[in-house]
């Protein structure tokens, strides 16, 4: 039975979602990490809301980045270990498309919940209510771009020793533009300015990521599976 | 000569900067050379050739 591309994507996404929801506690871990990291900043800096507000874009985006890095390890790991990834590569379907589907699921399970729970942390850091929607939008978009770029590093480090640390080291420089534009959007939202410019740039990076990242990730996975 | 070394007061930044720059230049060369000689040594050992006097 030949499945169309959309069908393949649906199957991949459905499978990943089903597997993820078998262990719901694991889904909460990135969120808990995000909240703990965000809590560390007032503890180490100051409890003054006015000063925390200045640091809020950095705290939120770095916290989101670190949580995503932790979650990225599991993007391909289990599938690589139990041979599923190899089956994907041999299936005759486009590996690029299947990995793109996996990345989307990863974002649905990590980046998106992170973005949606960010307002709780943001309010605790003194961010005004008017900035919260833009914060969610920026983190959702930036998180998607991050998942795409992270998929490349995840693929590259599949067979490497100490892959976890290496994955973070490889992803961080590539994530710099996302952080800069995302934090800028959040900062502008906090001070009440126009967020269009950095959001468009974030969107541009996401689009570039959608077109190129899955290709690189598929190449990386194939190299690792050889 | 002293004016040259002092470089209108900036000498203490300028000369260390050149020192660092050329230090790195020398370091890259030394590291490349040592990489080559150790590769040659390993290759000789692997092929069991032991005539270093004849190697350029």
């Amino acid at each position: 039975m030949r499945t169309g591309s959309l069908g393949v994507a649906q199957l991949v996404i459905a499978r990943d979602l089903r597997l993820a929801f078998r262990k719901p506690s694991q889904l909460l871990q990135p969120l808990m990490f995000f909240m703990i990291v965000a809590t560390l900043f007032p503890l180490t800096l100051t409890p003054e809301l006015s000063r925390l507000r200045d640091a809020a874009p950095g705290v939120l985006w770095i916290g989101a980045l670190l949580s995503s890095l932790l979650a990225l390890e599991f993007l391909f790991r289990e599938d690589a270990q139990d041979g599923t990834l190899e089956q994907f590569a041999l299936s005759g379907q486009a590996l690029t498309w299947m990995l793109f589907a996996k990345t989307c699921t990863h974002w649905l399970l990590t980046g998106l919940p992170l973005a949606l729970s960010a307002p709780i942390v943001a309010v605790a850091l003194g961010v005004p209510a008017g900035a919260l929607w833009s914060l969610v939008a920026a983190l959702a978009l930036g998180g998607f771009a991050l998942s795409l770029i992270g998929a490349i590093s995840a693929g590259l480090t599949l067979g490497a020793r100490r892959g976890g640390v290496l994955l973070s080291l490889l992803t961080l420089p590539l994530a710099v533009p996302i952080l800069i534009f995302g934090a800028d959007a959040t900062q502008r939202a906090i001070t009440g300015g126009e967020i269009a410019a950095p959001m468009y740039l974030l969107a541009a990076i996401a689009v570039l990521g959608v077109t190129l990242a899955p290709l690189a990730a598929a190449a990386a996975v194939r190299i690792g599976l050889e | 000569m002293n004016d040259f070394l002092a470089m209108s007061g900036y000498g203490k930044y300028l000369w260390p900067a050149f020192g660092l720059g050329f230090g790195v230049v020398v370091l890259i060369y030394v590291s490349a050379r040592s990489s080559l000689s150790s590769a040659m040594r390993d290759a000789r050992r692997r092929l069991e050739i032991n005539r270093p006097e004849q190697i350029r």
Binding site: G159, L174, V176, I223 | G9, L20, R51
Partner: protein, 245 residues
Amino acid sequence: MATWTWFHRFGSPPWVYGFAARWAPWFGAGAALCMIIALYGGLVLAPPDYQQKDAFRIVYIHAPSATLSLAVYSTMAVAAAVGLIWRMKVAHAAAAACAPIGAWFTVATLGTGMLWGKPMWGAYWVWDPRLTSELVLLFLYLGYMGLRAGIEDPQKADKASAVLAIVGAVNVPIIKYSVNWWNSLHQPATNKILGDPDMDWSMVWPLLLMLLAFFLYFGWVLLIRLRAELLRRERNASWIREVLA
């Protein structure tokens, strides 16, 4: 066609090894000659700058290092792409040889930049956009070398790091753009220290010559490292026996 034979020769490790052994000293000699003349021109002949007095002379070591740090990365990425697309072992060897060279150039750029910054801006590090981009470039180099070191199988290491080099190369302009964007948000006055458009020709020619010197030097050390890489990779080939005996 003549160009194809030439291209094919570069695919042959023994030919490249011989080429490197024969031509490297010329690159080295050329580099040394250009450096000496450029240093004389820059440190002795060129007049002091109107604003920065003699401190501007650091440009003669800083700017070439910076240019080379980027040029080496580009070379690395192109070599990696050639190796990946045409499956040329020599290209992968060249990419591997480039990495430590480029990383050191980045270190030199950062160090000389800091020593230039202290007298000009008052602090060794002020998050200048160009130096910040250079710092991110250093992390890209270290990541590349870390990935190579972390993968056991040499062929996999070659190919995986090739993908990384290409991804990094695509990202470098984006990173530079984003860092400039970030800088324009937080520092209204741009520091003209590294981009003075009104330089007198007597100040410019030593810089150009120094740049040429550094490129020749890169060729020199690259060819030396390339020989080492080829020796290590071509484990039991008979040509190695001939070359060493």
